[in-house]
């Protein structure tokens, strides 16, 4: 279980997180919704160690993550598919997957997981030798998710997987996220597409200017009037 307590982060003079506390229980899909600049990405980046926190704590299965180097955090079973996909454009699809398994040494296991990712995303197998930069946006997103899976994470964090994708592709990606979760990977999902995210999430948090303002099950938040108004585009009548 990932447990964040009273996390404060400042970024180039701006206080991005002001005491965020949240929990990601094992086996669940947890989503963090909020407007631009609310601090969603900062939260994920602080968990991975890309951004330093001022104070607070991030406990991962009882172990403190703050102050640890990124590679140690990744090897403790956390993976992230970053915002904007960030696949390596001049590497092949297969190389992108292999680099996702950079910290692993079990060759046979890596081969097996490449097959597993190809089963989840058959499109990637067809394009195995293609350079990642030549893939479509949706395929690149699949590759970014597949690459994150290659480290065999217990917790996978996804930063805006629906960004800039056609609605049909978004549905595809979300159904695969559900499938990955059923196979035992805990998911922490950040989305601006609150509707999709809340439908899939077991637990959801609303982040506003660096604070958690609401939390509940996905269904509860979907029914919440404030959430409806602010994030689902429905007016109170």
């Amino acid at each position: 279980m990932l447990k964040i307590e009273n996390l404060h982060v400042a970024y180039g003079g701006i206080q991005a997180l002001r005491g965020v506390s949240l929990e990601v229980p094992d086996g669940k899909i947890v989503t963090l919704i909020g407007a631009n600049g609310a601090g969603k990405s900062t939260t994920l980046r602080t968990i991975t160690g890309l951004v330093r926190a001022q104070s607070g704590s991030i406990q991962w299965n009882g172990e403190e993550l703050l102050g640890k180097s990124i590679d140690r955090i990744i090897s403790s079973g956390i993976a992230m598919s970053p915002e904007g996909r960030r696949v390596f454009p001049d590497m092949t699809v297969l190389e992108n997957l292999k680099i996702g398994a950079y910290l692993r040494k079990d060759k046979a296991g890596i081969e097996k997981d490449v097959k597993w990712v190809y089963e989840l995303f058959p499109r990637l197998e067809e394009r195995s030798w293609q350079l990642a930069g030549t893939l479509s946006g949706g395929e690149q997103q699949m590759l970014a998710v597949g690459r994150a899976l290659m480290s065999r994470p217990k917790l996978m964090m996804l930063d805006e997987p629906s960004l800039g994708l056609a609605p049909l592709v978004v549905q595809d990606i979300f159904s695969i996220i559900g499938e990955i979760n059923r196979q035992g990977v805990t998911i922490l999902l950040i989305e601006q597409n609150a509707n999709m995210a809340l439908k899939i999430a077991g637990l959801a948090y609303v982040l506003e200017t660096g604070n958690i303002t609401l939390s509940g099950t996905g269904a509860e938040l979907l029914a919440n009037e404030k959430v409806k108004e602010a994030y689902l585009g429905k007016r109170k009548d």
Binding site: T48, D71, P89, Y102, R147, S151
Partner: protein
Amino acid sequence: MEFAISVLISGISVGGQYALIAIGYTMVYGILRLINFAHGDVFMVAGLLGIYLSASLPLYAALPLVLLLTVALGFCIERAAYKPLRSAPRMSVMISAIGVSYLIQNTATYITGGQPMTYPVIPFLSDTVVIAGTPTKWVTILTPFLVLALVLALQQLINHTKVGMAMRAVAKDFETAQLMGIRINSIISVTFIIGSALAAIGSMLYFTNFQAITPTAGALPGLRAFVAAVVGGIGSIPGAVVGAFIIGICENVIKSTEFTVFSDAGTFALLILILVLRPTGLFGEKVTDKV
């Protein structure tokens, strides 16, 4: 005809030596987007180390030690002068590189007294062979083959090993590379180690031909190698090698005419011409900046 062949052979040879230096420039640029101005001076230090170590040790022990110490120097320069500036603007790192360059030159002046030193004779490499009627040293013949072998090995390393894959990832995207669990500082160190090792090998070949070493002896070959890297498209290893051969041949062709003194100006004229026609160099990436 014989004269033309001998000019061509020495051009290819000196080009090969520039290539070994140019790879160091281009690899560091590829990863850090930094022009490592101290690289030519590392090359000069490798030459001085060759002189001092061979004075007290047999060559078979001195030369590997030169390689080792040059690598250590490259590694230390990166850790001390560039790593602390990792998140600083690129210009600051470049100024730091210029500072390191002067520090090395001044230290070399202090130690040698500024007098030109003579590089030791390496048996076989310095032996004379007659090609196309002109006597030349074995090093001239051997250099292109050695360079080709080293470059092929390097390409193999970059394209087909894990550390090579990590280098390509770091060169493209620091942050995402870190998310894969890659320790970028180790990969950057590996880059400096490879570049310095090649510069050390280059120094053994180059100074066998041009034996006098002064504290500024690294500046000119370094500059020409840098031009070669730009001509080839900075960031590209095959580009640096091809560029270095072009620069080496051009320089020797000009030197064989009555316009010898213009050889460096000629090199730069060529650089400008190529950059006008192909602004990213012969093999340069279309997009040079990180997205």
